[in-house]
C-alpha cells in the first residue's frame, strides 16, 4: 500500500527532503500554499477566527438584550452588530469552514493527489483575507459598519455610510472566492477520482459537496448582481431599487432571496454529507439507502430554486404567488424527511458507540429536526403572518444553522482531526464540549420560540418588558455557549495543532470506511501521487 504514498513526506514536521515532496518552510508554506491540506487548514483557521469575531458580536447583542433599556450601545450600533454578525457568520464562518473540509477531505476521499487547480485554490483562499478585513474593519469607517441587516434590503442600503460600499466589495470578493472554490471542487470530483470510483460509489460528503458547488455557481452571481445594482443606485444615479426614480425595492428582495434560499442549502448540504459518513461509522453498519440519499440531496437542491419568496409573504404577493411558494416550500420537507429517516434506519440494529463525533451527529439529527419542523410551520403563509421578522424566525434559523451546520462541523472535526493532526483528542473533554454546547444552545434559542409567538420583532435593540425573562435566559445561554467554543479551541483544537495527545492510529474508528483511512495518521503532505487501485466498493486500496 505504501507504494501509493509519498515515500518522503511524513507530515509537516518532516522537512529537509526534496522541495517538491516535503512541506516548504515558514511563511512561504502558507502564503504560496498549493497543497490542498495546507489550504484546508488555512480555510478552517480562517473560519474559526471569523466564528469568534461573529460570536463576540452575538454576545454584544445578547448583552444589550439581557434587560430592557439600552445599557451598552445605542440602537444604531446595535443594528451594526446584528448586520455584521449575520454577514460574518454566513460568509466568513460557515461557508469557508465547509470549503476547508472540502479541501482537506475531497482529494483524500476520492484518491486524488490534490485539488484540480492548486494555484486557483490558493487565490480563492487569500482573496478572503482582504474581504474579511474590510468586513470586520467597517466598524472603524466613518458612520460605522453597515446597519441594514445581513439581507441588506433596499432602500435602507441607500442611507448607509461608506462602509456599505466596503461590504459590497467584500461580498464580491467572497463570492469570487466561492465560485473559484466551487469550480475547483467540481473539476476535482468529476475528473480526478481514482479508477474504479464511479459516481455512485463516492462518499456522501463528496456527493453533497458536488451538488453544493453547482448551487454556489448558480447563485453567487445572482447575489453579485443584486449588490452591484445596490452600488450603482448608491453612486451612479441608477434607480433599480430606489422608488424615487421608479425603482422597485421588492425586486431587490426577489433577487436577493433567489440567491438567499439556495444559500441556505449551501450551508446545510455539506453538513448532511458529513453526518451521512459519521452515522454509519459509529453504527458499524452501511449507510441505509445510499442512492435515495443522493436523490434526496439533488431534489432539495432543485427545489431550493423555487421557494425563495417564502421569505417575502408579508411583502404583499398575489394570492396565487403565496400559494405556489407555500406548496413548494412544504414539499422540501419530503426529501429532508427521507434523509432523517435514512440516518435513523442506519442506526437501527447497528452496533453503536458514542464517541464525540457520533454525539454531535445524533445531537445534530435531533436538534436540526426541530429546526426543520419550525421551518414547516413557518412555511404556512397564514402562520407566517404572525411570525415573519420575529424571534420565532431567529430561533428557527439558528436551529438549522448552529445546531445544523456548526454541530456537524464539530462532528466532522472530531471525526477527521486525528487524520489531520496525527493525535487523538481527549474523549472526556470532547464529551464535555458536546453536552455543554448542546445544553447552552437550547437554553439560548429555545426561549426565542416563545418570544416570537408572543410577537417580539427581530433586530430590536429594546423591547417591551413582558419579554424580559426569556431574553435574560437567552442571554445567559448565549454566554455559556460562547465560553464552550473558547473551551473547544483551547482544550481540543490547540493541543491537536501542537501534536499533543495520544498518537492517532491510521484507523482511529473501528468501522469508518473510505480512502482517507487508507493513509497514515497524520496524512502525509502528499497522498495518492499515483492513482490507487481500489476494491469493488471503492473504499479500500488493494494495491
Amino acid at each position: 500500500m505504501s507504494a501509493v504514498l509519498d515515500p518522503h513526506g511524513h507530515g509537516a514536521a518532516d522537512h529537509g527532503h526534496d522541495d517538491h515532496h516535503g512541506a516548504p518552510h515558514g511563511w512561504k508554506r502558507w502564503v504560496y500554499a498549493t497543497n490542498h491540506k495546507d489550504i484546508g487548514t488555512l480555510y478552517l483557521l480562517f473560519a474559526f477566527t471569523m466564528l469568534i469575531i461573529g460570536g463576540v458580536l452575538a454576545l454584544l447583542i445578547r448583552a444589550e438584550l439581557f434587560q430592557p433599556g439600552l445599557q451598552f450601545v445605542n440602537p444604531e450600533l446595535f443594528n451594526q452588530f446584528t448586520t455584521m454578525h449575520g454577514l460574518i457568520m454566513v460568509f466568513g464562518a460557515i461557508m469557508p469552514a465547509f470549503v476547508g473540509f472540502a479541501n482537506w477531505m475531497i482529494p483524500l476521499q476520492i484518491g486524488a493527489a490534490d485539488m484540480a487547480f492548486a494555484r486557483m485554490n490558493n487565490f480563492s483562499f487569500w482573496l478572503m483575507i482582504p474581504a474579511a478585513l474590510m468586513l470586520a474593519g467597517s466598524f472603524f469607517m466613518p458612520g460605522g459598519a453597515p446597519a441594514a441587516g445581513w439581507t441588506i434590503y433596499a432602500p435602507l442600503t441607500l442611507q448607509m455610510g461608506p462602509s456599505m460600499d466596503a461590504a459590497i466589495f467584500a461580498l464580491h470578493l467572497l463570492g469570487a472566492s466561492s465560485i473559484m472554490g466551487s469550480i475547483n471542487i467540481i473539476v476535482t470530483i468529476l475528473n480526478m477520482r481514482a479508477p474504479g470510483m464511479t459516481l455512485m460509489k463516492m462518499p456522501m460528503f463528496v456527493w453533497t459537496w458536488l451538488i453544493t458547488a453547482y448551487l454556489l455557481i448558480a447563485v453567487m452571481p445572482v447575489l453579485a448582481g443584486a449588490i452591484t445594482m445596490t452600488l450603482t443606485d448608491r453612486h451612479f444615479g441608477t434607480t433599480f431599487f430606489n422608488p424615487a426614480g421608479g425603482g422597485d425595492p421588492v425586486m431587490y428582495q426577489h433577487i436577493f432571496w433567489f440567491f438567499g434560499h439556495p444559500e441556505v442549502y449551501i450551508m446545510i448540504l455539506p453538513a448532511f454529507g458529513i453526518i451521512s459518513q459519521i452515522v454509519p461509522a459509529f453504527s458499524r453498519k452501511k449507510l441505509f439507502g445510499y442512492a435515495s440519499m443522493v436523490y434526496a440531496t439533488s431534489s432539495i437542491a432543485i427545489l431550493s430554486f423555487i421557494v425563495w419568496a417564502h421569505h417575502m409573504y408579508t411583502t404583499g404577493m398575489p394570492v396565487t404567488g403565496q400559494l405556489f411558494f407555500m406548496y413548494a416550500t412544504m414539499l422540501i420537507s419530503v426529501p429532508t424527511g427521507v434523509k432523517v429517516f435514512n440516518w435513523i434506519a442506519t442506526m437501527w440494529k447497528g452496533s453503536m458507540t458514542f464517541e464525540t463525533p457520533m454525539l454531535f451527529a445524533v445531537g445534530f439529527i435531533f436538534v436540526f429536526t426541530m429546526g426543520g419542523f419550525t421551518g414547516l410551520i413557518l412555511s404556512m403563509a397564514p402562520i407566517d403572518l404572525q411570525l415573519q421578522d420575529g424571534y420565532y424566525v431567529v430561533a428557527h434559523f439558528h436551529y438549522v444553522l448552529v445546531a445544523g451546520s456548526l454541530f456537524t462541523m464539530f462532528a466532522g472535526y472530531y471525526y477527521w482531526a486525528p487524520k489531520w493532526t496525527g493525535v487523538m483528542y481527549n474523549e472526556t473533554l470532547g464529551k464535555i464540549h458536546f453536552w455543554w454546547t448542546l445544553i447552552s444552545f437550547n437554553v439560548t434559542f429555545f426561549p426565542m420560540h416563545f418570544l416570537g409567538l408572543a410577537g417580539m420583532p427581530r433586530r430590536y435593540a429594546d423591547y417591551p418588558m413582558q419579554f424580559a425573562d426569556f431574553n435574560a435566559l437567552a442571554s445567559v445561554g448565549a454566554f455559556a455557549f460562547g465560553i464552550a467554543q473558547v473551551f473547544f479551541f483551547f482544550f481540543i483544537v490547540l493541543p491537536g495543532m501542537r501534536g499533543k495527545g495520544q498518537a492517532a492510529p491510521q484507523r482511529p474508528w473501528e468501522a469508518a470506511e473510505g480512502l482517507e483511512w487508507e493513509v497514515p495518521s497524520p496524512a502525509p503532505f502528499h497522498t495518492f501521487d499515483t492513482p490507487p487501485k481500489l476494491n469493488k466498493d471503492a473504499n479500500r486500496i488493494i494495491a
Partner: protein, 386 residues
C-alpha cells in the same frame, strides 16, 4: 391547551436564572404581550383565530411525528449499542420502505396544505371594506389617513411616547406595562366593521403588524399594498414595526383602539372639530412666544429622540445647540435641511405642516444656548416648499 401551557409556564418559572427579572412588577398588557407569553396572542379577528388554530394543528402533528421518529431513534440508541453487545445487522436498502417514507410525508404535507390554503385566500380578500385607512411608514413613526368611509379626511401622525424613549436611553426603564408601546395618537377603528389597511412608506420599508388581528403587511416606498381586518371586540391592541427601518426601528409602535360604533362616531366628530381648529391660516403672522411654545411640542414629538431634549445630539447625531446652521441668520438653510433631509442620518420632514416646521425651527433658534431672537413664519416655509 391552556392547562398544558400553564404547567409549562410553571416549569419554566422554576428555572432559577429567571430570578433577576421575575421581581420586576410588570403585568400582562391586554391586547399586547403578556408576561412570559408562550403562544400567539388571543385572536380578535376570524383570520387570527384561523391562524391560532392552524398553529396548534401544525404543532400537534409535528410533535406527534417528532416523538414517533425520535422514539424509534432513542429506542435504537438504547438497544442497539455495542456496549450491550448488539451485533450490527447487514441490511442497507429497501425500496418498499423508501417509497413508504416518501409517500406518507407527501400525503401529510398535502393534508396540512388544505386548511392553510383556505386561510390564505381569506386573508387576501380585501374587497367590500367599510372603512379604508392609509398607513404610511415614516422613519420612525406611523401616519394614518382615513381615506374612505366614516371619518374620511381625518389624518394624523402616531409617535412613541417620548418619555418612554427617554427611559430606554437611560438604561434603567421603570417597570411599565406598555413600555415602548404607548403612542400619542392611536389608530381608532369601529368594532365589527371590515377595515382595509393600505400601506405605503415615505422612506424605507416598514411593516405594519398587529398580532391580535393576525395582520402583517410591509409598507413599501413607492408602492401600495393592502390587508384587512374585522375586529370582533373592543379594546386596545398593540403591534410594532416588523421590518428593519434604521436606527429607531424598535421605537415605532402601533396602537389600534377598537371602539363601539357610537364611540367611533363621537370620536370622528371630535377629531373633525379638532382638525378644523388646527387648520391654521398659513398666512397668519405668529409671535415668537407662540411659535416657540408650539415648537417645543413638535420638537419633543419628532426631534428629541435623536437630537436629545437638550439639543446636544449623541454619537453620530449632530448637536443643534450651538450648531452653525441653527444660528445662521439665513433661516433658509435650516428650512432646507428639514424639508429635504441631510446626509444619511437626518430624514426629510416634509410631512410636517408649514406651521410645525416654522415653529420647531423658531424653537431651536431660541432654546438652550441658542438665543438668536430670530423667528421663522409658516409663510417662509411655504415659500421654500415651492
Amino acid at each position: 391547551m391552556n392547562h398544558i401551557l400553564k404547567k409549562l409556564e410553571t416549569a419554566l418559572l422554576a428555572l432559577a436564572v429567571l430570578g433577576a427579572n421575575a421581581a420586576w412588577a410588570v403585568n400582562d398588557l391586554p391586547g399586547g404581550p403578556a408576561v412570559r407569553q408562550l403562544n400567539l396572542h388571543p385572536p380578535v379577528t376570524k383570520i387570527a383565530e384561523e391562524q391560532v388554530w392552524l398553529h396548534w394543528f401544525m404543532l400537534i402533528i409535528c410533535t406527534v411525528i417528532f416523538v414517533a421518529v425520535f422514539g424509534v431513534m432513542f429506542y435504537s440508541i438504547w438497544k442497539h449499542r455495542k456496549s450491550v453487545g448488539h451485533k450490527s445487522a447487514n441490511f442497507h436498502e429497501s425500496v418498499k420502505v423508501e417509497i413508504a417514507w416518501t409517500v406518507v410525508p407527501f400525503i401529510i404535507v398535502i393534508l396540512m396544505a388544505l386548511p392553510a390554503t383556505k386561510a390564505v385566500v381569506a386573508s387576501k380578500d380585501t374587497s367590500n371594506a367599510e372603512l379604508t385607512i392609509k398607513v404610511t411608514g415614516y422613519q420612525w413613526k406611523w401616519g394614518y389617513d382615513y381615506i374612505k368611509g366614516e371619518g374620511e379626511g381625518i389624518g394624523f401622525i402616531s409617535t412613541l411616547d417620548n418619555a418612554q424613549r427617554e427611559m430606554s436611553n437611560s438604561g434603567k426603564p421603570e417597570p411599565t406595562d406598555d413600555y415602548l408601546l404607548k403612542v400619542d395618537n392611536p389608530l381608532v377603528v369601529p368594532v365589527g366593521k371590515k377595515i382595509r389597511i393600505i400601506t405605503t412608506s415615505n422612506d424605507v420599508i416598514h411593516s405594519f403588524a398587529v398580532n391580535s388581528f393576525g395582520i402583517k403587511q410591509d409598507a413599501i416606498p413607492g408602492f401600495v399594498r393592502d390587508t384587512w381586518f374585522r375586529a370582533e371586540q373592543t379594546g386596545d391592541f398593540r403591534g410594532q414595526c416588523q421590518e428593519l427601518c434604521g436606527k429607531e426601528h424598535a421605537y415605532m409602535p402601533i396602537h389600534v383602539k377598537v371602539v363601539s360604533a357610537e364611540d367611533y362616531t363621537a370620536w370622528v366628530a371630535a377629531e373633525t372639530k379638532k382638525m378644523a381648529a388646527k387648520q391654521d391660516d398659513p398666512s397668519k403672522v405668529w409671535t415668537l412666544a407662540e411659535l416657540t411654545k408650539k415648537g417645543e411640542k413638535v420638537y419633543a414629538a419628532n426631534c428629541a429622540a435623536c437630537h436629545q431634549p437638550n439639543g446636544k445630539g449623541a454619537g453620530p447625531i449632530k448637536a443643534l445647540d450651538g450648531a452653525a446652521v441653527v444660528l445662521d441668520a439665513d433661516a433658509g438653510k435650516q428650512i432646507n435641511v428639514l424639508l429635504n433631509g441631510q446626509n444619511v442620518a437626518m430624514p426629510a420632514w416634509k410631512q410636517l405642516s408649514d406651521t410645525e416646521i416654522a415653529a420647531v425651527i423658531s424653537f431651536t433658534k431660541n432654546s438652550w444656548s441658542n438665543q438668536t431672537g430670530q423667528l421663522v413664519q409658516p409663510a417662509d416655509v411655504r415659500a421654500a416648499r415651492q
